[in-house]
Every structure is written in C-alpha cells, then in structure tokens.
Symmetry: C2
Subunit: 344 residues, 2 copies
DNA sequence: GTTTAGCACTCGAGGGGTAAGAGTGCTAAA
DNA sequence: TTTAGCACTCTTACCCCTCGAGTGCTAAAC
C-alpha cells in the first residue's frame, strides 16, 4: 500500500486537527475540511488504509482517528511548513533579553521563561559547558587571613567561586607573584585539557603547599566537570496541566515527578548527538517515563565553541512547527547574548 | 459555651484523624478512639457544640465533621505535643549536609530538597539577605583590557559578580592602588548603610572615572537590594498532587501556577515579622490564592545577623507538628553550615 | 477500478433512578 | 448529663437506557 497524495493530505489534516483539539478526528470533519471534494466514505477508506499502515489509531470502534507517533514523525520530517514566527512573537522574545543582564543564571532563567510562555509547554535549559575554553589568566586575591580567592579568566568570561587556604603569612605581594606564575603556566591552555607538563610545573613551584595546589587544580577542573542535573533550569511546569492529556491527576503527578527530579531530563539533555535540533516523539524516547510526551531540544553555541541545550517538553500532539522555530530563534539569541558576557 | 476538657479531646481527635485520612470524621469513630468512655451520642452533642463555636464544619448533612481553620489555629497554638523528630529523620537530614558544599545556592537547594522529601509537602527557601554585613575589603582584578572584576569581601563571605570598565591603560599596579583606596574608605561600613561621606570620598578620588565609580557602587548595593522572586528555591511541587485536596486538576493547576510564578511566595517570604516560626492557616492568609493551604515559615540567621527564610506549603490539614520541628531543626542546621562559608 | 450513498452496527457519554451506607439530630428515658 | 433508639438526609455507586458520533460493509454509480 502506498501513501497517495490524497492520503497524505488526509493525514496532514487529521494531525492538524488533533493538535488543535485533542479530540479524535472523524471522516466527516476531514471531508468538510477538504471542501467536500471527496465524500466521507472515500476518506473513511483512506483512513482505514492509513490505520493499516500504522499512521492512525482508533481509541475505540466508534471514535474518530488519532495520529500515531509514526504519523507525527512523518509530519515533523516532511510536512512542516516554512512559515515564520509572527513579528509579535519575535518582539516578545527579544523584549525578554533587552535589559542588561550579567549572570549566566539570569540569562538561562529568562530563556526558559520565554520559551515556556510562548509555546505554552514546559521548557528546560542546560547551561553551557566550557571544556574547550581557553584560560587567559589565573588570579589569587586575599579574602582574609590564610584565605585566597581563585579567579579564573577565560575566553568566555570568568569565574571566581573557590576559596583556598594559603599560608597565614601570605601577603598580597606573595599572592601577586603566585598569580603571575599560574597565569604564565596555565595561560593558553584549555579548561578541559591542560597539559600534564603545566601541572607538573606548578606542582614544582608550589611544593610545600600541596593543599593550595590541589585546590587550584580543582577550581580549574570544576568548570569542565559534567554539569549535574541540578544545573538544569525549568519553567512552565504548570502549563502541562492545561492539556487534556494530563486531566488524570495520576498522570499529571507522574509527569511532574519525573520532570522535577531532573534525572531523566539530564539524561536527555546530556546526550550529545550534535544535532542542531532534535525531535523525539513519544514512544521513540528510550526513557520509559517520557514515552507519552515529545521532547524537542536544540543546541546553542557560544562563540561557536562550547554548548548547552534548550528544550521543550509537551504532549505528542504538540505544535512541532512552532516549537522548532522558537527553539531555533532562541538558540541564536543565546549565542548573541552569551558572546560577550562577563560572568561571576 | 465553653471548651470543656472533653470537647478539647474530641476536637484534638478529630483533627488528628482528619490530618491522616482527609475524610470527614464521624461521632462513632471518635467514640471508638476514646475507648467508648462516652457514647457516640454524647460525642455528637459535643460535636454540635464545637460546630456552633466555629471549630468544626460539615461538608453536608450526613457527613462527618471537618476541622475549621480556627480549629487548626487552636491546635497549633495549644495542642502541639512536645514529641521529637525520630533519630532516623535527624540522620536523614544531617546526611544531606554532610558533603562539603561551597555554593550558597547548593546549600539552599539541599535545604529545600530535604524539607520537601521529609515532610512530603512543597518546600521553599529564601536565600539570606546581607544588608547588615560589614565590608572588609574591596578588590579590583583585571580580567582583560579595560575590564576589571569587583570583589567584595565581607564578614560572611565574598562576592565577585560584577565586571566594570576601567581605562584601557589601567595596569595591575593601578588597580592595586585603587583597591587599597576603596578598602580604606568602605572597610568597616555595612553593605546596607555605608555613609554618604564614604561615597563622596570615593567620588572625589575617582573623579574622571564616573562610570567605573558608579559601577562599583552598584556592586555594593546589589547585595543589599531586596532579593527578587527568582531567588526563591522550590522543591516538592509534585508532592501536593498526592493529596486529595488537589484531586481536581483545576485546583492543582491553579496551585502550581501561583507557586511557580513565585510572586505570591515572595510576598509571603519577604514579610518580615521577626518570628522564629510563623504558621499561617488557610483563610488567615491575606493572599487569596493561598487561602486553601497553610504556610509555615521559619527564619534562619547566619552568624546571628542577616537572615533568610525557609518554609513549607501544604494542605490546611498538614502535619503541623512535624513541619514545625523540621523547619526548626533545619533553620539551626543552616546557621551552622552557613556560618563559616565562603561564597562565590 | 474508484468513488459514493445507504445502512446496520458499535461504543462511549450522559441522564435518571435506585439502593446502600454513613452520619446526623431529635426525643425520651436512664 | 448521658445514652439508646429511630427517623431523616445526603452522597456514592451502580445500573440501565438513550443518544449521537463514527465506523465498516455492501451495492450501486461513475
């Protein structure tokens, strides 16, 4: 059996209908939508064929048809129009990033907020990982007796979130020299793969201060360690309860639980397939708990190098076209915004 | 009409029952619970009285009785036992904070997680605010040409999250001198109320660098500005869907929405009543959206000075005794943990 | 061969009726 | 003041029925 032009049109029509209404679609409705060019009986025959082919499902005998995951797959791969986001929507998204924002966290939070509020689904963001970033400068600053703050300046910003112990008599002059030494040795290396030679060189210079030495290495390594599930930022959890798919409170709870725990999200977001945009529809998802919703994720880059992910979770009958466009646009916006950011 | 000893026992019993089962409690059940010392008819008479007094409510004629908010108030104020948390529970909470943790955020996240998982309600944390904290040190560190990072060292830790513009020819020597000047002037002042004199002194020294000067002031002020709703950390959202109170999906959605938006939470958490522990029961809440749940909040202090809040949101029939004990214990734990923390 | 009209059939949603059960309030007696 | 007894109320669950939407099949029309 083959997919004739008409069958495709019918399928497309059913999917559109179902995405909008969440109600099984009957032959009459489709006939009307195709301007009665064909009778409902004809449509019925085609629908029967489409069901045989696995594109449609029937909740029960006397109900209309519902698209299968396979149908959505076909839809996403071949039927998505080239339509654009409306100027209003673009403006809405841009407005979110207008105000000057310093913190990566804040940017991430804004990103999920805008995604969830514009798509009406649940949005998630995995912040960027920085293993390919080049170290420019390492600074130690005294923050009290016997304590110094490590500041790491890189291509894409800086971090300073580790306080290390130093000898109690370490004055700012001493720290200044130590900083210069560290900068000389680590400068130009990347966070992810600084050479053993560098490590050895520093170890030699800092012999007698093993603890401080290790703490400094930890600081550097920290930002290359895989991001954990706690790093994922979410928004729009309650959106899902709007959809009849989750009218059943137990289903809703199950969904919320898996989302809130973030383990599953982490698994999905850290799976790096190097795809610009990835769409995983219902049963395609290797993770059981996600089998009755769809997940669209997009990678974003900062300065073309390191990357994080943004994503949307929604019912399988989600508005794929819109979600994909939104993620695409926002991925690019993120690149712009993060490009020259300085971070704390 | 007065609250006889027996009436109090009956009320107590009804509340306990209802907290556990969420089902209206009948006279027979109470009679059985009091070992049939009184007949169900007697209990019935008392229950009628209690209803007259506003402590009980009847969903409908032939149902049992349900405690009113007023009853919970009486219960919380006068009937909470002196029981302790079980060793298991204590161990569970302690375990959460065993691992060495650097970031305030991480501590906050752990705190909400432990609260929500041990109480089975929704937990929230408002991170500490630092307006009474003393400035010890102000440092500028170069992070690139024309850019410097402001590091603020205080009594309770340090921050470094603002990059300011400095003259392109500002070398580390120059920044070092500037740092010393800033430290000399701001050192000893508190974040919240550094004197105009200090500001004027710095302005004079930095005349010609108005931009950098303002940026530095902003950095200092930033940590005293009221924390926003985005700072609130949540956990256990899905817990609420476990309770029959939220069996109705619309109610569940409404709840989730208000919680997720955080505006309402912010309002509640930033209301500073200087109470160690505050319990707001159902209709007592000035905020409409929270009228059918109860909110318990506790203040925590760090080094006895600045403070944040932790809280639990649950159905009005929540297990107040346990929630209060958990918050009390965790407030103290937080104090311990934050005490000597160094922060990024 | 394809399309269509016609029709019988299926199944779920929704409405009404009823029986069961839980709990009450009242009365009168202890 | 307490209690036994009883009539009354109201909800819940269940069943039955009807209605309507939608189907699949058949036979006729194109």
């Amino acid at each position: 059996m083959e997919l004739s032009e008409r069958k495709l049109r019918i399928l497309h029509s059913i999917i559109d209908n179902y995405i909008n209404t969440a109600m099984p679609v009957g032959s009459k409705a489709i006939a009307a939508e195709l301007n009665m060019v064909f009778s409902s009986a004809t449509i019925r025959n085609d629908m029967n064929d489409l069901e045989q082919m696995g594109f449609l499902e029937q909740p029960h005998t006397s109900a209309g048809r519902v698209p299968s995951d396979r149908a959505y797959r076909l839809y996403v791969d071949n039927m998505l129009g080239e339509g654009e986001l409306s100027p209003d929507e673009i403006a809405f998204m841009d407005r979110y990033f207008k105000r000057r924002i310093g913190q990566t966290e804040q940017v991430m939070q804004n990103a999920v907020n805008v995604i969830s509020s514009i798509t009406k689904y649940t949005a998630m963001v995995m912040p960027p990982q920085y293993s390919d970033v080049m170290i420019r400068n390492v600074q130690l600053v005294s923050v009290g007796i016997g304590k110094a703050l490590v500041i790491l300046v890189t291509d894409v910003g800086h971090w300073s979130d580790n306080v290390i112990s130093v000898p109690d008599d370490a004055d700012s002059e001493y720290l200044f020299r130590l900083s210069n030494m560290l900068t000389r040795i680590f400068g130009g290396q990347t966070l992810g793969h600084f050479s053993d030679m560098a490590v050895d060189a520093v170890r030699k210079e800092m012999s007698g201060q093993r603890e401080a030495f290790n703490a400094i290495l930890d600081t550097i390594r920290k930002h290359t360690s895989p991001r954990g599930r706690d790093d994922i930022v979410l928004s729009g959890l309650s959106n899902m309860l709007e959809y009849p798919e989750y009218r059943d409170i137990n289903k809703a709870r199950g969904f919320l639980q898996t989302i809130e725990t973030k383990d599953v999200l982490y698994e999905m977001l850290s799976h790096n397939d190097n795809m610009e945009i990835s769409v995983v529809i219902g049963s395609e998802n290797p993770i059981d708990a996600m089998r009755d919703c769809s997940v669209v994720t997009a990678s974003y880059r900062v300065n073309g190098v390191e990357q994080g992910k943004i994503g949307v979770i929604g019912p399988t009958r989600m508005n794929y076209a819109k979600v994909i466009k939104v993620l695409d646009y926002l991925g690019k916006s993120l690149n712009e915004i993060m490009k020259d950011k300085d971070d704390g």
